[in-house]
């Protein structure tokens, strides 16, 4: 009867113990070294790490899973295209039509895809992460490990946040590079404000889409994209046009932040319902927005969605 942790047969020439320093210290390569029975049977004491370390473990795993996703590289390629397309288009297209003729305005114009990509990217990245666990049944493995479901969710969520921030910071960098081709001066205050709005919107979008993935088992990606990028903006804009809410109302609905981030830079256009409306009637003016208040509200929404999503997973029967 073979014992699991006993070598089934000794490999010729490797029977004798190697000297201490020859031992492979944790390698996946086959060095011919075999554990002695005592070692194999060692009642190695291991302890479940604390919750934080388990969050880190899940985070690392999720980063590694994300790193195999093509959509991330696709968005990075789109970002790299920004300055290239600008160079190609600047002589045949008048960017002054869609944005202030300034360095900052041009950044805004170059980032006009931001709202759309923010929605579709977070929906596909974060909205799919929990449904994939359940549909591919890896959840049966993970949730039977000595780890709380909350730690599991947090690790997965944080990986989505980090990737999304990375991608959009890169996009900002590329848009600035494009703008530097023509201009050498930026309105730093507007840029910082826009950048902050973008970071806040990443929080809101990732936690909303992640939570949707926790609530619904199928179609979370498309449903969360439609809600956050189409349905809510249309409703909010309708309320805005009919004066049920004013500019400050958009702070309560931080799903508008990617738009506002573009508009803050001085562009009149973005690829979203608000962008279209603003191009037609030019009414939205983000300058009057209180960024600090907006940050507090966005953070509150993000935490609320995340907590609701985690509760849904904690209560889920499998």
């Amino acid at each position: 009867m073979s014992d699991l942790f006993k070598r089934r047969e000794s490999v010729p020439g490797t029977a004798q113990e190697p000297a201490e320093d020859e031992r492979p210290k944790g390698t996946w390569e086959d060095s011919g070294y075999r554990m002695s029975d005592e070692e194999a049977h060692r009642d190695t004491v291991y302890h479940i790490p604390n919750q934080f370390m388990q969050v880190v473990a899940v985070f690392k795993t999720q980063m590694s899973l994300y790193s195999k996703r093509k959509s991330i590289y696709l968005v990075l390629v789109v970002a790299v295209m920004i300055p290239i397309l600008y160079v190609l288009a600047k002589d045949i297209f008048d960017f002054g039509m869609v944005a202030e003729a300034s360095g900052t305005g041009l950044i805004g114009a170059l980032l006009s895809m931001l709202p759309f990509i923010m929605g579709i990217f977070t929906a596909s990245l974060c909205g799919s992460v929990m449904p994939a666990e359940f549909n591919d049944r890896s959840a049966y493995m993970n949730m039977a490990l000595p780890m709380s479901r909350t730690a599991f969710c947090l690790g997965k969520y944080l990986a989505g946040v980090v990737i999304t921030i990375g991608v959009f910071v890169f996009a900002y960098g590329m848009a600035m590079a494009g703008s530097l081709i023509t201009y050498s001066f930026f309105d730093e205050e507007a840029l910082a404000k826009s950048f902050t709005m973008m970071l806040l919107s990443v929080l809101v979008y990732t936690s909303f889409t992640f939570a949707m993935g926790c609530f619904i088992k199928r179609g979370a990606t498309i449903v969360s994209f439609l809600i956050i990028a189409i349905v809510l903006p249309v409703i909010e804009l309708y309320m805005f046009m009919n004066s049920y809410i004013d500019m400050s109302g958009f702070m309560l609905f931080p799903n508008m932040l990617p738009d506002l981030a573009c508009l803050t830079l001085g562009s009149n256009i973005s690829m979203s319902p608000m962008g279209v409306l603003n191009m037609l009637v030019h009414i939205v003016n983000p300058a009057s927005m209180d960024l600090l208040l907006s940050a507090v509200i966005s953070a509150a929404w993000s935490v609320a969605f995340l907590v609701l999503g985690i509760i849904a997973i904690e209560r889920r029967e499998m």
């Binding site: 996946w28 388990q54 473990a57 039977a144």
Partner: protein, 315 residues
């Protein structure tokens, strides 16, 4: 400390709405014991094992693993490895990636993961596949990957839900061979299956469940060989005419429920008890001086009972 049970399930009930998937199942698995949950499809095996591993919340009842309530999920499962409902590991990962992930959660350091990882991957015959994407693996290989994952921490307790289901005959044989290799000192196993021979090959004890109820529980070899299930009937045939003395003597023996005289020479004893008690009855008949001719034993054993059970199922 030593008599702490590996797994204790007491009065487990799980209802889905008005449907009761598991009703009042109790059993325990001692340290070093291999216990099988045997039952046809839909009996409630997976539901029981999911409750044991904290994947679902029991409607009522209590589950302890090494004395720790499963509600304290992290602590209770510290030394448990399990495969429930044939999970599919991440297809984009390689076995090495997957073991890395699981090892980190258990708190094994990098070197330890690689050493143990090589061990389990070799045992699962996956060592040469450690850098290949799991996506391309056959079903049997995927099953071995999840087994490797469960065995990585060299756990004291292993919980497996139908580890051979859905595999082709070759895959089944491979997995069974691996399971036989799991025995080691103080390791406990709880495994569910609908295949009787898997239990008899592997397990020391068995709990048979049907429609969410535990109907028999006990030692496998005893259940398979003897008729230790419910009362058995001993038909004792004597040479001389049986008098009331022998009847009353038999009736007073431990384990005897009923004695019935069938004509002058035969008495039917309904009995439930240990083998020693059964031997005692036979020796009483022998020592009666009436000339013991034969003893016939009849009753249900595990196999016949399980056959009956599964026949009903398919009928």
């Amino acid at each position: 400390m030593n008599d702490v049970k590996a797994i204790e399930v007491s009065h487990l009930v799980k209802r889905y709405g008005s449907f009761t998937a598991v009703s009042d199942i109790s059993f325990d698995v001692a340290k070093g014991e291999f216990m099988g949950l045997l039952g046809p499809n839909g009996a409630g095996k997976s539901t029981t094992l999911k409750a044991v591993t904290g994947l679902l919340r029991p409607t009522s009842g209590e589950i302890r693993i090494q004395g720790v309530d499963i509600k304290d999920h992290r602590k209770a499962l510290e030394h448990v490895g399990c495969v429930i409902e044939t999970p599919m590991p991440y297809g984009d990962f390689t076995p090495a990636d997957l073991l890395q992930h699981v090892g980190r959660i258990y708190g094994l350091d990098k070197a330890e993961i690689a050493i143990r990882g090589r061990d389990v991957l070799e045992e699962m015959k996956l060592w040469d596949w450690r850098y290949k994407k799991i996506d391309g693996f056959s079903k049997g290989m995927k099953q071995r990957v999840v087994l490797a994952q469960a065995l990585l921490p060299n756990p004291d307790i292993i919980v497996l839900d139908e580890p051979t289901s859905g595999l082709d005959p070759r895959g089944m044989v491979e997995v069974r061979e691996i399971l036989k290799g799991l025995k080691r000192k103080d390791r406990s196993l709880l495994i569910s299956t609908h295949i009787l021979s898997e239990i008899s090959e592997l397990c020391g004890s068995v709990t048979m469940i049907r429609d969410g109820e535990a109907i028999i529980s006990g030692d496998v070899s005893e259940l398979l060989s003897g008729s230790r299930m419910g009362p058995i009937t001993l038909e004792i045939k004597m040479l001389k005419t049986i008098g009331p003395e022998l009847i009353s003597e038999l009736e007073s023996s431990t384990g005897v429920r009923d004695c019935e005289r069938m004509g002058d020479h035969v008495v039917k004893v309904s009995f439930m008890g240990s083998s020693e008690e059964q031997a005692e009855i036979v020796s009483k008949a022998y020592n009666s001086g009436l000339g013991l001719m034969s003893v016939n034993e009849s009753g249900k054993n595990l196999e016949s009972l399980y056959m009956e059970m599964t026949e009903e199922e398919s009928a």
